[in-house]
């Protein structure tokens, strides 16, 4: 009896599906995602996958999503992207900077497939780019870091010297310096997006040098765990990371990709998708600031909130002159703000940061 019932339900479902497919002329929209880390990294890739889940929730049966995780940047990425394009995907999100060239290359061979590349700067007719103005978030947490450090040494765990990361360091430094003129940044490049062991070692090395607040631009919560263990402060990166450092976490920069992904999938369904360049900050909600820890004094919380509100209102730009480059050459004059072109290609430290930018 049950078996028959199951069969009947299945048959109805099948009829329903084909009916729907016929009704609007095409089948489910197939959307693919390629992640640089595991979806369980509780950082960058995790948040992209939350975005994918938002797409599933928004469109239900009308969409089919697939993802491939832990895809190394390089030749292997091209193979994975091509495979996805070949297997009938309508829209493919490649979610790491290093996928830029492979995405462009594969996109040329599959003009009917739409591609979206995160954090890159190369576009094509069927390749959009999108990213968050995470540096706006860095301005807010940089201010908090400057106020909270007692040793006046802030540690920064960086991944690769690409503009996105350099921009984050500069924005955080400028904000921290403004909040606390004695502040000093110690930057460690780990040459990886995801390696909890190495990230933890980097955190330990920084703490050894007297750092008492850590910021990171890598994907795992390892540094947060070490900060918790050693009793210093840190910030969640890409994801809130609160559970990894209930005492250590001061605030966080959260990437909220969901609304963007939903709107892009909708555009493909409607046939209105166009190659665009999206770069959204705190105001449109792509970049979010996590809840403030009660370890932050009320006046500092108020200042941070004021900075955030000013950014949202468009009254404050993270890079407002006068700012000199590291070598002392002037970059922005008094009151001048940086244009997006310079920001997107940023390959220099601002004045005051010590150490040489690797290339």
């Amino acid at each position: 009896m049950n078996f028959v019932k199951t069969l009947a339900v299945a048959a109805t479902a099948a009829v329903g599906l084909t009916g729907a497919a016929f009704a609007d002329g095409h089948e489910k929209t197939k959307v693919g995602f390629i992640y640089v880390g595991p979806v369980g990294d509780f950082g960058w890739s995790y948040e992209h996958d939350q975005g994918r889940k938002a797409v599933v929730e928004a469109f239900g049966d009308k969409v089919e999503t697939t993802y491939v995780e832990s895809v190394p940047e390089g030749p292997d990425a091209e193979r994975v992207i091509r495979q996805m394009a070949q297997s009938g995907h309508d829209l493919i999100f490649t979610t790491s900077f290093g996928y830029m060239n492979p995405t462009i290359k594969v996109a040329k061979q599959f003009p009917d497939v739409k591609f979206e590349h995160a954090t890159g700067y190369q576009r094509a007719d069927n390749v959009s780019t999108y990213s968050g103005r995470f540096y706006e978030g860095r301005t807010v947490i940089g201010h908090i870091a400057g106020k909270m450090t007692e040793t006046n040494k802030i540690g920064y765990i960086a991944s690769f010297p690409i503009p996105e990361v350099v921009r984050g360091i500069n924005a955080a430094y400028l904000a921290a310096k403004k909040a606390n003129p004695d502040v000093e940044f110690k930057i460690v490049w780990v040459s990886t997006w995801f390696d909890p062991g190495k990230e933890a070692d980097a955190a330990n090395a920084l703490i050894e040098q007297g750092v008492d607040v850590i910021m990171q631009h890598t994907d795992s919560p390892a540094a947060m765990t070490i900060a918790e263990e050693k009793g210093i402060y840190a910030f969640g990166q890409a994801s809130d990371m609160k559970e990894f450092g209930p005492n250590a976490r001061l605030s966080s920069i959260i990437d909220n990709w969901g609304p963007y992904y939903v709107s892009r999938v909708q555009a493909v369904m409607d046939g209105t998708w166009e190659s665009t360049d999206t770069w959204d900050g705190i105001a449109p909600g792509l970049t979010e600031i996590g809840e403030f820890s009660d370890k932050i004094p009320a006046d500092v919380q108020a200042e941070a909130t004021a900075i955030k509100d000013a950014i949202v209102a468009g009254e404050l730009h993270s890079f407002t002159g006068p700012i000199n480059k590291q070598d002392g050459t002037p970059w922005l004059a008094e009151g001048e703000t940086a244009d997006d072109g310079t920001l997107l290609g940023m390959n220099f430290y601002v004045e005051g940061i010590e150490g040489e930018l690797p290339n």
Partner: protein
């Protein structure tokens, strides 16, 4: 440059912590390879040990129980490889690679509920007087217990391989399985035991990472350590003491470059990152340049399929 801010004692201490997971995994793989089996699944066994150890520690509240579970877990998953390659005679390279992928996937599955949980902290050695000595204390007597276990294991494996009859039999199986077989030794059983031992060690290495070095569970957290362990075995030309040297060298280079950067000394981190691999390649070149030496070092039956009729 101001090197005075660089504390050599702290540097050595973090070097040891960074090297210990590699040391465990590489020692296990050394024994496996000495028996003539090439198991490329070290990464999979490590990550599986990492989650087994983490899960059991959290559930039981005892890090020791977690370590035991990690060793058992690593051994069990390695026995899948053992049965496939030794009983069903599958290709060792392909099966080892499959084991890595299987281990990564299974660990991710088991690990779902354990993200963001803090494991019980691991006790450190605290000897009266000795641990409190200046310089010597932090340098020698203040590590967590597993560091001493890993060092004891190095000595134990060296003694076993060079000084014991059982070790001689294991090496005989690795050098010439047909001869060992004709002498009446059960090649398959001996190899299965070596594989399980290798798995248990890799499991311990993984658990060291998730319970002591980081300590947290994150998917894929071994991030290639298993592959480095494989390289170390070759670098060490299958000798336990050189495995120790290799692991500390690999760990040391990583720690040194991170600390130098924190000091603000600009070095291209890429150069330092590739140094250990470069050294491995150079060692390989030197070894293979002298064919008789290479033949002496690598187990002669390494990776070859054994069949009783063969």
């Amino acid at each position: 440059m101001d090197f005075s801010a660089l504390n050599p004692i702290a540097l050595v201490a973090s070097l040891v912590v960074a090297a210990t997971p590699l040391l465990f995994a590489a020692l296990g793989e050394l024994v496996t390879e000495k028996s003539g089996v090439l198991n490329l699944g070290v990464e999979g066994m490590m990550i599986f040990g990492a989650i087994c150890g983490f899960a059991i520690s959290v559930e039981s509240g005892s890090p020791w129980l977690g370590l035991v579970a990690a060793a058992i877990g690593g051994a069990l998953i390695s026995l899948i490889f053992g049965v496939l390659t030794q009983v069903l005679l599958s290709n060792q390279v392909a099966t080892g690679l499959a084991l890595t992928m299987f281990g990564l996937g299974l660990a991710a599955l088991i690990g779902q509920p354990y993200a963001g949980i803090k494991p019980p902290s691991f006790p450190k050695l605290d000897l009266p007087v000795l641990s409190d000595l200046p310089v010597i204390g932090p340098l020698l007597f203040q590590y967590d217990y597993m560091v001493y276990v890993s060092l004891a294991l190095t000595v134990g494996i060296w003694l076993f391989l060079t000084r014991s009859r059982a070790g001689l039999v294991l090496r005989a199986v690795g050098e010439n399985h047909d001869a060992a077989h004709s002498l009446g030794y059960n090649v398959i059983l001996i190899r299965l035991a070596a594989i399980a031992f290798g798995g248990a060690c890799a499991g311990l290495g993984g658990a060291y990472l998730s319970l002591i070095r980081v300590p947290q569970w994150t998917e894929g957290m071994t991030a290639g350590a298993g592959w480095i362990a494989l390289a170390i075995v070759v670098f060490a030309s299958w000798k336990p003491w050189r495995v120790l040297l290799g692991a500390y060298l690999f760990g040391g280079v990583t720690i040194l470059q991170l600390n130098l950067q924190a000091l603000g000394i600009s070095i291209q981190s890429q150069y330092l990152s590739m140094t250990p691999y470069l050294v491995t390649i150079i060692v390989l070149v030197i070894m293979s340049a002298d064919r008789s030496r290479a033949a002496l070092n690598a187990p002669a039956s390494l990776g070859r399929v054994f069949h009783k009729t063969g």
